[in-house]
């Protein structure tokens, strides 16, 4: 019996590794194969401090956990700006560096590591030193459960929604005003700290730290357990850990062989078992959104309850907070762009471009393919940094700001290729937009999530209701619970419009809102654009369809080779013989 309790304890410790890694990979989409190395930082910190400074259990635990978190934080600063494949490489490098240091520094014991000078004692919690596996089980549950809770809370909240946004489409998440970098740094630090915690526990449980306990093979094993358990599902992580950890003990007890070979044969079966398991459950034991309890699964994708639907009456679209700008006077531009230029390697994408957007008006940017229209949007929203020029929104300079900051200042965009978060429901897509603009509110504030759960829940409810209202506006309330990837293209465009409206930005940039959309949806979209303008939004569209431009645009800018060559109403432009020949004639 004690034998299985021992294994159960190890499963608990490794669950802390896998649950936290799942938050990092499954939610935030940041692949790390250095998780055991962060465990090493925690374990070694606790061991070194016990040996040299007489640290007991709790101070050692705190030092190890925070130490790993801190190093995770430092590492994430350069790491998380990298391309994902470089991130993986970098985590391998970190793993190798940590192992090389602990393996070669004499003070850390080299290959021998550090042996505990005394067993762990949870004092002031009574019970004396923890010696036997059975004594460890409750305390380990006591550590694994909060880990689960914290990761689950972070993952399932508005905060985690942003993480999932980053995972599915980082560019789109930034464009909705979220500072993805901060989110990534926080999630990396937090998960590193949890890995440190697990490392500390491993030290106290084994009463020894040594490099081989936290080797790259262990990191890979943790990685495998997490993916096998199911990305984005914490219960799956526990199950995955249990299955992989139990595989060998079960084999040891079932396949009794001549001892010389037994362990080799067990490893052969173990390896094949791993390959078969992943073949049988390629999405993981419990894929994202699947739960052991069917009711929970239903709740996640279900549309808001009746109660919240009733509450939505009170929500007024677009005015859920006071607008940043003064009530439109109809006079003066809200956006002033002057002398904007951008080159990519020798190719001029945008040359000395200037334009104004009049408050509460719809402008259109037209021109032949390759004229640089989408580039202009990218420059305006900070996706590309301009080489020179100025972009002023309400007189405030935007040049040099990232896309998320620009969105928070009040200018947001849609994408030509929609870029919805395919694995999230339509409702979640819209809810994701309702954050960040105000610098994080309610559930998106980590402190509220844990210190003021009621406030967070309230914020979540009201945003759910608000988002629902936006969906209702575009006529898609009935598909609120459907995964965005499962919607038709036209519906996706509408959701993306609802998402844009939900950002509450004053200036909306629409990149080909009607392209590729069924005729029946086009009118709906036009209606919505006009509606938005009537609510005080300033809108600029890039559009090929002259029909659309004609219907909507108050002003039309004509672009050629990265430069605006004409401006006027659509009538004026189409009557220009040169433009007609260059562009309109061909349409």
């Amino acid at each position: 019996m004690d034998y299985w309790i021992d294994i159960f304890n190890v499963v608990l410790i490794f669950s802390i590794f896998t649950i936290s890694l799942n938050l990092l990979i499954g939610y935030a989409g940041q692949v790390s194969v250095a998780h055991a190395a962060f465990g090493a930082i925690g374990g070694y910190a606790a061991a070194y401090l016990q040996a040299n400074a007489g640290f007991s259990f709790w101070p050692g635990l705190a030092a190890g956990t925070f130490g790993a978190g801190l190093i995770g934080l430092l590492m994430s600063l350069p790491a998380l700006r990298l391309r994902p494949e470089y991130l993986v490489l970098l985590t391998i490098a970190v793993s190798a560096i940590v192992l090389a240091i602990v393996g070669a520094v004499a003070e850390l014991g080299g290959a021998y590591g550090i042996t505990a000078s005394r067993p762990a004692d949870l004092w002031p919690i009574p019970g004396g030193p923890l010696l036997f596996p059975i004594q460890w089980t409750l305390p380990l549950i006591g550590f694994a459960a909060p880990t689960f809770f914290v990761c689950w809370r972070m993952g399932q909240s508005a905060w985690g929604r942003v993480l999932r946004g980053i995972r599915d489409d980082e560019v789109a998440t930034r464009a909705l005003g979220h500072n993805v970098y901060i989110f990534k740094v926080i999630v990396f630090s937090v998960t590193s700290a949890f890995a440190g915690l697990a490392g500390v526990l491993l030290f106290f449980y084994n009463q020894i730290v040594s490099p081989s306990v936290y080797g790259l093979d262990v990191s890979l094993k943790i990685f495998a357990m997490t993916i096998f358990g199911g990305l984005g599902n914490f219960v799956g992580s526990i199950l995955g850990t249990a299955v992989v950890q139990l595989l060998q003990p079960i084999l040891e007890n079932v396949v009794k062989l001549e001892p010389g070979n037994a362990f080799l044969i067990q490893l052969v079966i173990y390896g094949i078992g791993l390959a078969i398991l992943v073949r049988v459950r390629p999405q993981g034991l419990l894929p994202e959104g699947v739960s052991l309890l069917p009711a929970r699964a239903a709740e996640r994708v279900a549309p808001p309850s009746v109660r919240s639907a009733a509450a939505t009456k009170a929500v007024n679209i677009g005015t859920s907070r006071p607008s940043q700008l003064q009530p439109p006077t109809g006079a003066g531009p809200i956006l002033e762009v002057r002398g904007l230029s951008k080159q990519f390697g020798g190719i001029v994408a945008c040359r000395d471009l200037s334009l104004d957007l009049e408050t509460g008006k719809i402008a259109a940017l037209v021109g032949p393919n390759g004229a640089g229209k989408t580039t202009v949007f990218n420059l305006l929203t900070g996706a590309f940094g301009a080489d020179s020029g100025s972009i002023k929104l309400n007189g405030e300079e935007l040049c040099g700001l990232g896309p998320d900051a620009v969105a928070r200042k009040g200018m947001a965009r849609t994408f030509q290729d929609v870029r919805l978060f395919a694995r999230m429901s339509a409702l979640e897509n819209v809810m994701l937009a309702m954050r960040g603009i105000e610098g994080g509110s309610g559930g998106e504030k980590l402190s509220d999530l844990f210190l003021h759960p009621r406030r967070a829940a309230r914020a979540e409810r009201s945003e759910r209701d608000g988002a629902m209202e936006h969906l209702r506006l575009v006529g898609l309330a009935d598909v609120a619970g459907t995964a965005a990837g499962a919607l038709s293209y036209g519906q996706q465009k509408l959701v993306s419009f609802a998402r844009l409206m939900a950002t509450d930005a004053d200036v909306l940039l629409l990149d080909e809102p009607a392209s590729g959309v069924d005729a029946r949806w086009v009118d709906k979209l036009l209606e919505l654009v006009v509606y938005a303008r009537d609510r005080g939004k300033t809108i600029c569209i890039v559009e090929h369809s002259l029909h659309v431009v004609e219907q909507l645009a108050d002003t039309v800018f004509f672009m050629e080779l990265g430069h605006i060559t004409a401006k006027g109403t659509i009538r004026e432009l189409t009557s220009d013989p040169r433009l007609a020949e260059v562009y309109f004639g061909t349409v």
């Binding site: 021992d6 393996g103 070669a104 014991g109 290959a111 021998y112 010389g260 037994a262």
Partner: protein, 433 residues
């Protein structure tokens, strides 16, 4: 090198074993039935001086669990099996001689995985196994807390205590201190055979905090033998590429190099040392047969100094008996690692008999250890002469051996011949004429 020449045989045996294992797992489980000479049990009892004991005193029929923690997977697994062979043979002979029915509880430490070592100690403790044979210095120390906590009496015949594991509770080393006891002999050998050697380098595996102790001991020995230190080079354990170390040695240009590399690592080193055009004499602290396989012809005449088991020149009848029965059973010449686990298993039986004689509980690691402390001596297949087995004695403070025959040997194409003998600390050094 029976193994390599019969590679195809080995291939076929492996394949057949595998198929058998797959189809009839349970059949294989019972293990091979061992051929047993009827003369052997009496001989052994006589050699051990216990022919007069009755069944009770011998522990006949007593069930005894003995943990054995070896590298059964991973790079060290060949020698893990060799060690297991030695212990298995001892278990059979002990039972046949009227001793207890020892059940070996095998645990795999995956060739020095500390997590596996710690778990092995815990599992043995949970199963209330009173004693264990360990390897790799208590699996690089990871078993120490478990041994102490569960009071598991442990003998390590693979790595001994080394400098690292001295005086650890319940842990006893059954080998000379590696490499300290070896380089004393090596330096004395050079002093007596080659006066031109003045400046000596040592390349040794990284053992963290132990490096300093090893280096200091080396310096002290150099002083005593009148040599100079040229340099010390630390290398990682398990390396295959020694180009950096060799480039440094080339720059230092010592008159001789002492190598403390373990397992097959010296094979890699020596091959590259020769290929780098270096010809200065070397002495290695370890000799295993597959290092010769790695190094090729370079290893034919290499010299090593350690507490090696010389299967060509058994020093006493018990050793002879061991070599005969081992060769018969496993179709292999016994290597040092088999010999050590063989005699360590017998040491456990010795302690069991002592505990029985005192009326104690043989399933108490504490009492087994006390029996050792009371009289830290065992009969050994090393040393001794003719009908008189050698004696291995231990220091009750350091938990390491205080007597152990060592030697300097020339590999002689896999059939080593002794060049000199010496005792611990280089005492009683004598060249073989």
């Amino acid at each position: 090198m029976q193994f390599t020449n019969n590679g195809f045989d080995a291939f076929c045996r492996g394949a057949i074993k595998l198929m058998v294992a797959a189809c009839f797992g349970s059949l294989v489980a019972s293990g091979p039935v061992l051929a047993q000479d009827s003369a052997t049990p009496d001989q052994i009892k006589k050699l051990l001086g216990i022919e007069g004991l009755d069944a009770k005193a011998l522990g006949t029929g007593l069930k005894f669990q003995l943990g054995i923690v070896l590298a059964l997977t991973g790079p060290g697994s060949y020698y893990g099996r060799i060690q297991g062979n030695g212990a298995k043979l001892a278990v059979e002979q002990i039972k046949a001689a009227g001793g207890p029915d020892i059940e070996l509880i095998f645990k795999d430490h995956k060739s020095a995985d500390a997590q596996a070592g710690a778990r092995a100690a815990r599992e043995l403790g949970i199963a209330r196994v009173p004693a264990a044979l360990t390897s790799y210095v208590g699996v690089i120390g990871s078993m120490f807390p478990g041994l102490e906590q569960y009071k598991i009496f442990a003998l390590d015949g693979g790595g001994g205590t080394s400098d690292f594991g001295q005086g650890k509770r319940y842990f006893w080393g059954m080998r000379a201190i590696e490499p300290d006891d070896d380089f004393v002999g090596a330096l004395k050998y050079w002093k007596e055979t080659d006066p031109s050697i003045k400046r000596v380098s040592m390349a040794f595996i990284d053992q963290g905090p132990i490096n300093e102790i090893v280096t200091n001991n080396f310096k002290k020995t150099l002083e005593a033998t009148g040599h100079e230190l040229a340099s010390t080079e630390v290398t990682p354990i398990g390396a295959t590429d020694y180009s950096a170390t060799i480039a440094r040695l080339k720059a230092t240009n010592p008159d001789a190099v002492f190598l403390f590399l373990i397992g097959v690592d010296p094979g890699y080193f020596m091959k590259q040392y020769a290929n780098a055009g270096l010809t200065k004499p070397t002495i290695v602290a370890e000799y295993v047969s597959d290092a010769a396989q790695v190094a090729g012809p370079v290893y034919d005449e290499m010299i090593f100094a350690t507490d090696w088991f010389d299967a060509n020149k058994p020093t006493n009848d018990w050793a002879k008996l061991f070599i005969d029965s081992y060769t018969k059973q496993f179709n292999l010449k016994p290597e040092m690692y088999a010999a050590n686990y063989y005699e360590d298993t017998f040491a456990i039986w010795d302690l069991i008999r002592r505990v029985i004689a005192k009326g104690g509980d043989v399933n108490s690691g504490e009492q087994l250890q006390q029996a050792l402390v009371d009289d830290p001596k065992f009969k050994s297949i090393y040393g001794g002469k003719a009908a008189e087995p050698g004696v291995i004695t231990l220091d009750t403070k350091t938990h390491s051996v205080t007597s152990r025959p060592l030697g300097v040997y020339r590999a002689n194409k896999g059939d080593p011949v002794p060049l000199a003998y010496f005792d611990l600390g280089g005492a009683n050094f004598r060249l073989v004429k």
